[in-house]
Amino acid sequence: MDKLQHIDQLLKRASQEPANALVSDSDWLVIEKKLRHRKNRIYAMWFFLALVSVSVGLGLLFHNSQPSNPTAITDAPVNKDQDVQNEEEPSLEQIHKGLNSTETYQTNLPTKNVTKANVPHTHYITPPIENTFDLNELKYDIPPIEKPDGISLNKRGLPIVLNNQELNARLVSDLSLIPLLHNEYTHTEAKNKNNGYWEVGFAFTPSLSSKFLSENNLLSGLINKDYYNFVGNSERVAFSNSYGINLQWHNSSKFYVSSGLFIAQRTEMVDYNYTLTEGPIYNAEKTNIDSYFYRLPSDHEQITYKGSNSYHFIEIPINIGFKTPIPRNFESRIQIGLSYLGLLDASGKKGDYSTLELNDVKDLHLQTQNIATSIKTGLYYNSSRFAVGIEPIFGLSLNSLSDKTTSPIKVKPYNYGINISTNFKLIKK
């Protein structure tokens, strides 16, 4: 069969850039475009989500900062020293317009921003418009209520009955009654503006995790020539999660601070399948691989391992957030901050950077103290007693998980997923 070796020459000649293997300019443009696209695809998706969320938040903020319906507000100038009781009352005709004798009163209580600087402290009601309530439904243990002359809002945006001081006292002292008379959101806001409040709850974040790899310049000579082909490219994105107690302090502004205590799991899928036929030869200082020696066939080592490596951390974040109310008790929130990540344990196997042999992950020199940053933004349903939120999140370790003094590869894990939080509000009455 040796005389068929001319086939090799035929093939070699034919394979010198055949005419049908020419890459046209348009083909090349497609390749370049796809290279850029694939590299940035994941980041672009999350950047887009973040951009949309921030845009919506800013849009709503701008929208909410517009003056409320001027027709429902008097044009009287602001006098901050003026007490509600002493304010000049409008004429009965102005107050009682639309009031009937069934003791059911209709108001157009503003649902938000009633205490804006350019708005008078007292807003006399011009019925009938939105909210309806029946004073008889209030479980007041007081003598029969005298028919009031009208309903008004005090400085804090709370309703008062104009000619009944006893009822007013109950209205002000018993805030639990206010939702019957007043929009719930305004009620909560009014209280929160004075007291601030805590949110405590449970948060769960399913996510996908991967990592950024870069070379440690001081030790990069120790990276095996086949490391990326055999090991680096055999490690894939995997499911991760974190869960724990979420704690948030909301003060009177739109900003809030959050922290908590979480258990976070980062994982990576590995699928190693290669044969070690060579070994590295180091220089005298063992800082560089000078060359490689061929192993005897009997020393060839088949590396086959498929599984997931996992790393468990205890996570303590400190974040600052910004919230924007949305109609129907929703809020958009954006939160950014830092987390302390203490490595609890690690399990699995990993190909060595130099020898490509398999090592137990727990035997690697890993940083036990880590700092990460994260950004999340999304929607919360916000009632008077609890808040439920769902937020896309992106987190990135700021330091390398591998020890920079011994590892030629810097590993910065990142994860992207959905944070789901259920928080109960602890409001001081």
Partner: protein, 156 residues
Amino acid sequence: MLFEKYANKMMAICMRYCKNQDDAKDLLQEGYYKIYINIKSFKGGSKIDTWMTRIFINLALNKKRHGRFKYDHYEFDTKFEQAETEYEPSSDDIEPEIVLKALNELPEIYKVVLNMYAVDNLSHKEIAQQLGISIGSSKSRLSRGRVLLNALLKRK
């Protein structure tokens, strides 16, 4: 761009390892993506086109390993039995396009070994390692591949 300089050469490799031009273009794109993200690992120990060639071959073989191409052993066995009876060498002045077309008609297991040995200058040891077969199998496939290709070229 440096990579563009070698695009035709890499495309030729892709063509030799793929059944058709569409697969070859896909392979070209994937290969360049892999080169793009791994360029830091190129230490200059060899010429860059040699390094790139290795990446393309590895990628093509990986695709084959993952079942992208189906080997039809029965079809081969029949063809091989027929080819063994047509052992006279083919002419040396055959058009390159005809040679490549005939190569593409070979069953994958022989086409790959022929490509790796005759064109990409890999040793039987390296071929065996890359394909996860024994050196003997590599030699056997090369020999049978030559016989088959010779038979196909004689019929053209």
